[in-house]
Symmetry: C2
Subunit: 268 residues, 2 copies
Amino acid sequence: MRGRKYVHGYSEREKVRLRDQADTLAELLHGDTVYPPGSLVLEAGCGVGAQTVILAQNSAETHFLSIDISDESLRKAKETTERAGIVNVQFQKGDIYDLPFEDERFDHVFVCFVLEHLLRPLDALQNLKRVLKKNGSITVIEGDHGSAYFHPDSPEARKAIQCLVDIQAKMGGDSLIGRRIYPLLKASGFNNVRVSPRMVYVDSSRPHLVEGFTKNTFTAMVEGVREQALALGMMDEKTWDKGIRDLYRTAETDGTFCYTFFKGTASR
Amino acid sequence: MRGRKYVHGYSEREKVRLRDQADTLAELLHGDTVYPPGSLVLEAGCGVGAQTVILAQNSAETHFLSIDISDESLRKAKETTERAGIVNVQFQKGDIYDLPFEDERFDHVFVCFVLEHLLRPLDALQNLKRVLKKNGSITVIEGDHGSAYFHPDSPEARKAIQCLVDIQAKMGGDSLIGRRIYPLLKASGFNNVRVSPRMVYVDSSRPHLVEGFTKNTFTAMVEGVREQALALGMMDEKTWDKGIRDLYRTAETDGTFCYTFFKGTASR
């Protein structure tokens, strides 16, 4: 769900969305990721730093090296971490397919909302394995847009979500990758692979998630591909608009919304 | 997922399936349901007693009154509990729409895999509320077949699952009811409604679930509607068989399978 220009866009609204998402989900996704003091952790594909801030705060005495392929993202990530008073992160430009590091450089590796955007996630994982120390851990977190369902159900809403999935697939990504983390980590040769789902269940007894997840994270993300979906003729405008209205409808008092992230850990 | 003759059938295989399901899921679904010693609990719609055994064993000093509309199911449930040496359950024939009990008779009410089969789940809940004491609790557990997704994904497998959903809908049921437990309990006038999802995530590091859930519970259940689905022309035989093969395919070493049950609790 992390922004890539071509899929999600970097508008002001997008920044708000990424911040809301990070706040709401921080504990669910990252609460159990705490690294030993003094260890060196590679965050591969830090984007604008939405997860970096949480990671670095949860392990304040760990050194993070956060890389991204985009200068613009790195600049924003630096700003974000500086604003948060974080001092244990360094940033460096780097390509996940061609990591500028010697073998076994890092104690641990962390990848969040990155593999979904990659044409060759298996190659990426094998590259990350190279720079990871023996017995070091890798943590992978990804969403899975096929895990979204809701009440009231709506064919138009499901179709709008499918547009997001199809657009990401056209860019070479896979937004259904969450369910594939286990086989991907196994196929990359990691040991002790363990995957745990992190399900976000939203009903009106959880107003923070209604706002922070159903509306400002998930539905906003689907809305973000409106123009592409219409331009590509994937849906007509009327059906699209009904789909989005129906997604917002699930945020009313009698609505419910479900989405699942997957978190995998393994060791080299 | 509890058997009703018209949907799941009561073959020997079905009995094995129900037993496997109960073993595998007992802790996930029922582990946190323990009633005070001496209290009286109504289990509404006990079926063949698959859940009754677990309930009664988890609260050995609680008195259970388990009802079902089917004499045949009650007979089997009695056999099952007797065989398990259970002495704290009484059985009685009863209709959930016309409960043979005075108001506020029970300290607590328990309903599992029942509402999915009912044409009027809201009426059923309101009837159950009538016989529940003030401040007594109700516990509702249901599956949601729309929560199933898997790797490798397969349109034919999804279509076969949709047949099960459609057949259950034709019978007046709703196999997507899990996501509706929150609004149903609220609309029935219960207080302190709280719903928690219970997700079953299966990969090959969890061989007991691969066998006990993916194959022997879920896929076996879908297979159970083969003849109805073909007779109704919902799918042709070749596509159906591919769908079933693809569901078994998700049980191989690089496959994954996800399904979510929903557990709601509330008080009167």
